[in-house]
């Protein structure tokens, strides 16, 4: 560890050298800095613009609003019924992520560690689903869901989200379970544990990093999902947040209510961003290790 002690002459020289060294690599900082600055600026710009009046958006695009128009947010919240949208999103996302885990964790464990007839074939079928575009599913599913009276319901959407999460989740979880050393399994068996107990008390806890990662990934995907909700939910009362945003977009653009639109975008954007800033390390590491395995 280099000394950052500037009380000695040597310490100061070291620190200055370090800065100089970084300055020589200025060209390496250029693109990442510009890119990051752009991203941050976009968020800043849309937040600031959402607090302006429509006239200010045209007349004063770069500056600050004269008064902070918080009412833009209140209006959008009421008109688009975002409170309900938020509640729907929370229910749908939590339920579908949970359902996916309940379905896939036991299956992934069984398929990756217990050899039975057709297990390889079944695993491949699960994973192959990743290459099936949703376009192949939506039309027959729409008919099925209509017949089951699950259109426009949260239950239907939860079921669909869980289903389409299966390929990716199985891909990650089978990899994870397979990589667990069998020493634990054998030790538990010797101790007289039942097969179910081995899963429940030994292997499942061991795989919890993988479960957590895939849960976070599915959470983000479902929370932001829009295209399936577009097909299966037309009733405003059942719309999750992203879908609700779309429902009011056309009317806002039609009436030229740009600031309302900005406010809605911020409402959808900011929670994800805040959670992301807290969790980003976790999420990124998860994706990285998932790909490497």
């Amino acid at each position: 560890m280099e000394q950052k002690n500037r009380n000695t002459r040597a310490g100061t020289r070291l620190w200055k050298t370090k800065i100089l060294k970084e300055l020589r690599r200025f060209h390496l900082y250029l693109l990442p800095t510009l890119w990051s600055a752009f991203n941050i600026f976009c968020v800043y710009w849309i937040v600031v613009s959402s607090l302006k009046t429509n006239r200010e958006v045209f007349s004063n695009p770069w500056g600050m609003p004269a008064d902070l128009q918080f009412e833009n947010y209140l209006k959008v919240w009421q008109v688009a019924n975002l409170g309900l949208g938020l509640r729907n999103s929370i229910i749908i996302t939590l339920a579908s992520v949970l359902l996916t885990l309940i379905l896939c964790a036991p299956a992934a464990y069984a398929l990756s560690r217990i050899k039975f007839k057709g297990s390889g074939w079944l695993t491949s079928t699960f994973i192959a689903g990743a290459g099936v575009p949703s376009a192949m599913l939506i039309i027959p599913l729409f008919v099925t869901m209509t017949n089951l009276k699950l259109i426009n319901t949260l239950y239907g959407l939860i079921l669909i989200y869980s289903t389409v999460s299966i390929p990716f989740t199985m891909f990650v979880l089978t990899g994870f379970f397979k990589a667990l050393p069998s020493a634990f399994e054998e030790a538990a068996r010797i101790d007289g544990c039942t097969e179910f107990g081995i899963f429940w008390r030994v292997m499942l806890p061991l795989a919890s990093p993988g479960l957590l990662t895939v849960a976070i990934f599915n959470f983000v995907a479902v929370w932001n999902e829009y295209s399936l909700a577009l097909v299966f939910i037309q009733d405003e009362k059942a719309m999750p947040l992203a879908r609700g945003l779309y429902a009011i977009t056309s009317s806002m653009i039609y009436t030229g209510n740009w600031v309302g639109l900005f406010a809605a975008v911020v409402i959808v954007m900011v929670p994800s961003l805040l959670v992301y800033i807290l969790l980003s390390e976790r999420l990124i590491e998860g994706i990285a290790t998932g790909a490497l395995k």
Binding site: R25, L28, Y29, L31, P32, W35, S36, N39, I40, C42, W45, S49, V57, F58, P61, W62, P106, A107, A110, L111, I114, F116, S119, L122, G131, V132, P133, A135, M136, L137, I138, I139, P140, L141, T144, L159, T163, I166, M170, E195, Y226, S227, V231, L245, T249, S250, I253, Y254, L261, V268, S272, L273, Y276, S280, E281, I284, I287, A288, A291, L292
Partner: protein
Amino acid sequence: MRNGKTRLAIAFSLPATLIYAIFFVWPAFQSFYLAFFKWSGVGEKTYVGLSNFRELLSIIECNVDAQFPFVHPSYGDIFFWPSVGHTLVNVLAGGAITFSLAFVLTAMLSSGIQGKKFFRMVIFAPNVIAAIALSLLWAQIYNPRHGLLKNFLGLLRFEDLAKTPWLGPDKVLISTLVAMCWVWVGFNLVLLLSAVEQIPQDMFDAAKVDGANTFQIFFQVTIPLIWDVLSIAVINFSIMALKVFEFPYIIKGLQAPPQIYTLSIYNYILGFGRREPIWRMGKAAAVAVLMQIMVIGMILIFARLFRREAIEYG
């Protein structure tokens, strides 16, 4: 206790298998079946053989700039091939742009500069925000009246450039592609960066000692050593780019213009329409089947291209 174990395994796999079979596999087969019929969603299905496919694949009347009619007789002929074109632009041009930028950024971020984690976090961030919010954000950036891009160009005194209709019929495809690449680069940056960081520094040092320049190091050291991750990233990207729906669909806010139609969008419109439903379910299913064939084709091509022994090192 082999039987007991097998029984447990089957019990464990059953729920997932059932749900998957009923709500995923069966509908996929149904789409394949439906593609050979003419059906409006209710009532009778009429068997029409390959006529849906013939209608889609015929090149007679492609005219993506046509007004969107709801009762045009040879309706599908107009939009299918342009949709394919737009989709391929997204996959190929998008892939080239995305991976070039991702590699450049990977090289910069893995060279030991300060703030790598910060940069990575900010550049990846769009991937956690809803596509609808991002698409509307870019719609504001590109807006011809109060848009960020217009104001920025005006600031730099590029008045003529500032007046460009970024979301107009000729430019909307490229504009949307830029926005999508902005998101995709972040994702692939994370994948590539984690792969590149696995490479032991000795490899790079040895290459430099042998006198290799940057390009040689890149093509003969870096690429081969991240081959596996690269193949997954490319295959995953091509499927993602082929399926793209949300970004182009929302970018103009009101209705997606035919100049931006991707296959997913066209499939959706044939089945569920824009303002009013079209109810050409059989044809929509045919589009989906063609998409599936394209996906399988791409996977086979890339699997072939990337097939190689994994390099062991260390």
